[in-house]
Symmetry: C2
């Protein structure tokens, strides 16, 4: 520690002064950590998942994510394909066409080498399907009991193709809110797999790349204002973050949001609100009112459950409200920690 | 696991079939893992630390590294500054000017938040000194006992400025081998700090950025053929890897390689060969014979211990030999695992 070091910011409001599981949950504690420690230290923005870098004539988007999901293999995916999809999707959310990935592995002593090979093969297959190359990598090993099998950090670079930045400041009153499919499958699939829960039907993660849909929206001239993938914290957290950054109030109509019957039943059983359950192949799109129907038609080519789910009411405190089936309106706020730890 | 999955390669020659600490040591086991699992799966190269991507008119270099060093703070540095220097240096070794970094954190539940803030501040300061921005990041949290305080994965992108690729295939018979300073300080500093060893003098890590020296070498027209930073596995491993990839035999004169007296004494005491001990601010340069003196003069502006340490003998099996003070020649080979685990 250099002698001139001083904390430039108050520590997060956390009585223990220590990292809690909730700091990784994508909710209020995660935001605290970013806003009070990382963003001030690095002078970087806290409101997007990918950064943009001018390079030569073009613009490059860059994003990074560590994956610590447990179990490593779950219905509909595994840590390897998830790491590829998550990174490709973060690039797409910035309006960038994914070009290349880097993959860094932290292995725990004693992990079967066959597991490493299975995960590597899954990553390679996912990358092939996404049309990106895994260009470079790294491997570190930690002693037994100092890791948890396998962690992967993937970093992606992409070429910006959106005609204007996709960010909260571009959101306008009257914009339409869309979601690209049914929600809450990934979190429930991972949780069921981890806890050994069995439901009547097998719930698979929605883990999938979404960049082709985004490229089509851009290519067909839909006026996109902001995109956000609905990962940790689910659809609600994605919308709350954008609403807060934009200082615009949003309202969604819960009846328009598709949740599969078995997923809804599992959420009820487990006490989860599907609006906050993680997805890994769904995104929220905020588009100009005039483009809403065209955007919907494009999204429905891939998933008929895609829907226009609400509107941007106008300037305000950045509040998200949800209208229920009986017309009652409730306020949706950031969860403090997480409903489901380590789902990505 | 998809049903069509089959291992496309034999597993590493490891009787246990499990990850060992040595798989992260930078030696033969690490090479096995890369050559037999990662490189075939990803179709990527195993012989450089950074990959190059054509983008628009220019060429972009990309590199990634996870840092798992213990302890987090050591004489001369900490995991934060190390993560920045390591990534900036890998870009420089590809002949690229570092532009931007991404940083992903895996935190263990219970870690003091003040530690996170200290590490973030150290990273920010190191990045400022290197002239790069930390553009984007990620935070995950794992339960107590499933991590080890703090892991950081840094990924860097840079603009290629070397007039030709710096890679083993460009090494020619007669080329000069240089090293940019005294060696073996980082490994000994970390080990002493971890084990609570005290020497007469305090040995500090050499952790530092080396891109300015590389940019000067390029800017002043030195004909560089290949560069390699002497991290895990030290100077010997860096040269063995290049010799092997180039299929050229190298010879170094041990008397030309600077090792500080206190570092040499510590190595003798601990039974380490300084040629294999990690550095984090030193690199080996292979330059055309005619440029050797100019390269030396440039390197000595920064560190008077920089030296011309040997030559490329010619085409062969890719063997590195070292001539000792009495004229005897010994063969240097890759270590199986590591001398010093978790030094980066």
């Amino acid at each position: 520690m250099s002698p001139e070091f001083t904390l430039s910011c108050p520590l997060p409001l956390d009585a223990s002064g220590r990292v809690q599981i909730g700091h990784g949950g994508g909710g209020r504690l995660t935001r605290d950590l970013i806003e009070r420690i990382f963003a001030p230290a690095f002078g970087s923005r806290a409101d997007t998942d990918a950064a943009v870098l001018a390079l030569g004539g073009g613009q490059l988007a860059m994003t990074t994510d560590s994956f610590v999901v447990q179990p490593l293999f779950f219905p509909g995916g595994d840590i390897g394909s998830l790491a590829v999809h998550g990174t490709v999707n973060d690039l797409a959310m910035a309006g960038a066409r994914p070009l290349a990935l880097a993959a860094a592995f932290i292995l725990e002593e004693g992990l079967p080498l066959e597991t490493v090979a299975r995960v590597a093969a899954s990553m390679a297959e996912a990358a092939r399907r996404c049309g990106v190359r895994i260009l470079t990598g790294d491997t570190k090993v930690v002693e037994r009991g100092r890791g948890d099998g396998l962690f992967i950090t993937t970093t992606g670079v992409g070429a910006l193709v959106a005609p204007a930045p996709l960010e909260p400041s571009r959101v306008e009153a009257g914009d339409a809110l869309l979601v690209s499919g049914d929600i809450a499958r990934h979190g429930i699939a991972v949780m069921a797999s981890r806890e050994g829960l069995e439901f009547e039907s097998r719930i698979e993660s929605d883990s999938a790349p979404i960049h082709e849909e985004v490229m089509t929206l851009i290519g067909e001239g839909v006026e996109l204002h902001c995109l956000r993938d609905c990962t940790r914290g689910g659809l609600a957290t994605a919308l709350i973050e954008i609403a807060g950054a934009a200082q615009m109030d949003f309202q969604v109509d819960e009846q328009q949001i598709a949740v599969r019957g078995d997923v809804r039943a599992a959420c009820e059983l487990l006490g989860f609100d599907p609006l906050y359950v993680a997805n890994e192949g769904r995104f929220a799109a905020i588009v100009s009112a005039g483009c809403a129907e065209r955007a919907l038609e494009i999204l429905r080519r891939n998933r008929p459950e895609a829907a226009i789910i609400g509107t941007v009411l106008g300037r305000g405190s950045g509040r998200l409200t949800a209208k229920g089936p009986l017309g009652a309106v409730r306020v949706l706020d950031l969860l403090s920690g997480e409903q489901l730890p380590r789902i990505c």
